[in-house]
Amino acid sequence: MKQPLLPRLLFGAFVGLVLIYLILPLLIIVPMSFSATRFLTFPPPALSLRWYAEYFGNPNWMQATRMSALIGLLTVIVATPLGTAAAYAISNSQTKLMRSLHMMLMLPLIVPIIIIAIGIFFIYAKLGLIQTLTGLVLANVMLGLPYVITSVVAGLQSFDKTQEMVARSLGMNRFRAFLTVTLPQIKASVFAGGIFAFISAIDETIIALFVSGGQYQTLTKRMFTALRDEIDPTIASISTLLTAASFILVLLATSGQKRAA
């Protein structure tokens, strides 16, 4: 089906422009982060590592970065087993109750985060969990669970369940059968789900705006404040590093998934 040249060229040009629109913001932050001036001029008049030095030399930014990394790690440690167990239950049970529980576990993706955020803010205020590590990790576990569950349910779909049954009929208890037969075969989906939960925790801003602060301030909350009050060019260096880190993580997650397929 050959179409006339002109419409095809116009179509190609339109798609090209949309792709430029998509990628431009990511391309702009890298040169900005190496700029030598405070001003948002592009291309930067001279290059320097000034904003990287500013970031790594500032104890407040460093403290917030460490806090976000810690929250991310603890979130993964809690959300991955919880999500995997739930995904196992979901794919092994076809009851109506389990289907509604599955829907309920997806709620963090459906309910606008601002509503969850102020609800949690109030509950945490009653429980004394504002500006605590426990509170921040719990909130991020909640947000990360749908990612782990979706990823592991998909992994279990392509796994042949009779293998686990064989292991059990040979005398293994269920937990060992899961660990030695099932888990090795779905580990890529578990791994990917864990990474998505980590990225979601590192990226989370709205709940952190309400419940993080003091020594428990997250990187995103600091960035948000810095962006709202005045545009601090240090943000450019942080953005570049953050973007590079999340691409590496996504590559890790997807390459793991592909190897399993």
């Binding site: 089906m1 179509f11 798609v15 949309v18 792709l19 629109y21 990628i23 431009l24 913001p25 990511l26 702009i28 932050i29 001003f39 948002l40 001029t41 592009f42 919880l82 167990a85 739930a86 239950a89 049970s93 009851t95 389990m98 829907m103 576990l105 997806m106 709620l107 963090p108 993706l109 459906i110 309910v111 606008p112 985060i113 601002i114 509503i115 955020a117 102020i118 609800g119 803010f121 109030f122 509950i123 719990l138 909130a139 909640m142 669970l145 569950i149 979706t150 269920r174 990226d203 801003t205 709205i206 705006l209 309400f210 960035m223 948000f224 709202r228 943000i235 450019a236 953005s239 953050l242």
Partner: protein
Amino acid sequence: MSVIDPSLRYRRREQGLMLLLASPAVIVIVALVVIPVGWLMTQSVYDNGFTLEHYRRIFSEDIYWRSFTLTFRIALMVTVLTLILGYPVAYAAAHVKRPWDVLILSFVILPFWTSVLVRAYAWLVLLQRTGVTNQMLERFGLISEPLALVHNELGTVIATVHILLPFMVLPLYSTMQKIPRELMLAGASLGGGPLHTFLRVFLPLSLPGVVAGLTLVFVLTLGFYITPELLGGGRTIMISMVVSRNVELYNQWGAASAVGVVLLVAVIAVFALVGRIIPLDKMLGQK
């Protein structure tokens, strides 16, 4: 009671075990989503006893109405724009040869995994009065005064469309990919021109993806918070910002809860309406 089918007993035990396995995750969601949202709902009708005063207020006072209509208008604009920009991109990705499809899809997915804050910063750099876009336009003599591209509704829409475009392109792409090529050839062999075949064969078959994309983008825009807060210049007050301001600045929990409940009802209504056409899990699965 005397005769219980052993397989039934086994199945019951099995189901009990599965519930037990799911329970830690369920407890987290109940404690951090169901209870907080339920509490908001009660709060929205409570002020020393049952009252509809908060709802009366938010539906009669001008600030709230302006925010509702603004949010609705932005959501509509963003939804239409993402469809116009996203459909051709998904079409191209579904029709070009490797490695071009991978290239197009990575352009769509890379921003998807970039922090919303990072992108807000990038748009500020690009769209400010002294920003890159204005500098370029001035250098080429296209404008004499810098354009107000950000700190307003326009800036909010530009950045929101950018954030939500992947949510449109990905469901569209996955639907289009499943449309057999032979159908288009058959249409052409029956004498339909390319445009005719597209309109009569391809477009209707891609509609499920269109509906999924429209729904996701519309619903997600309704709840947007960070982007309008950073790029809206204090005048583009969307519903989420009204909720947060009522809590943070005015300590008005009743009003904040009522606005939150209205937002939630709007989101659920859209999902329920569309859910009659496409199952919800399918929509979310395509994310």
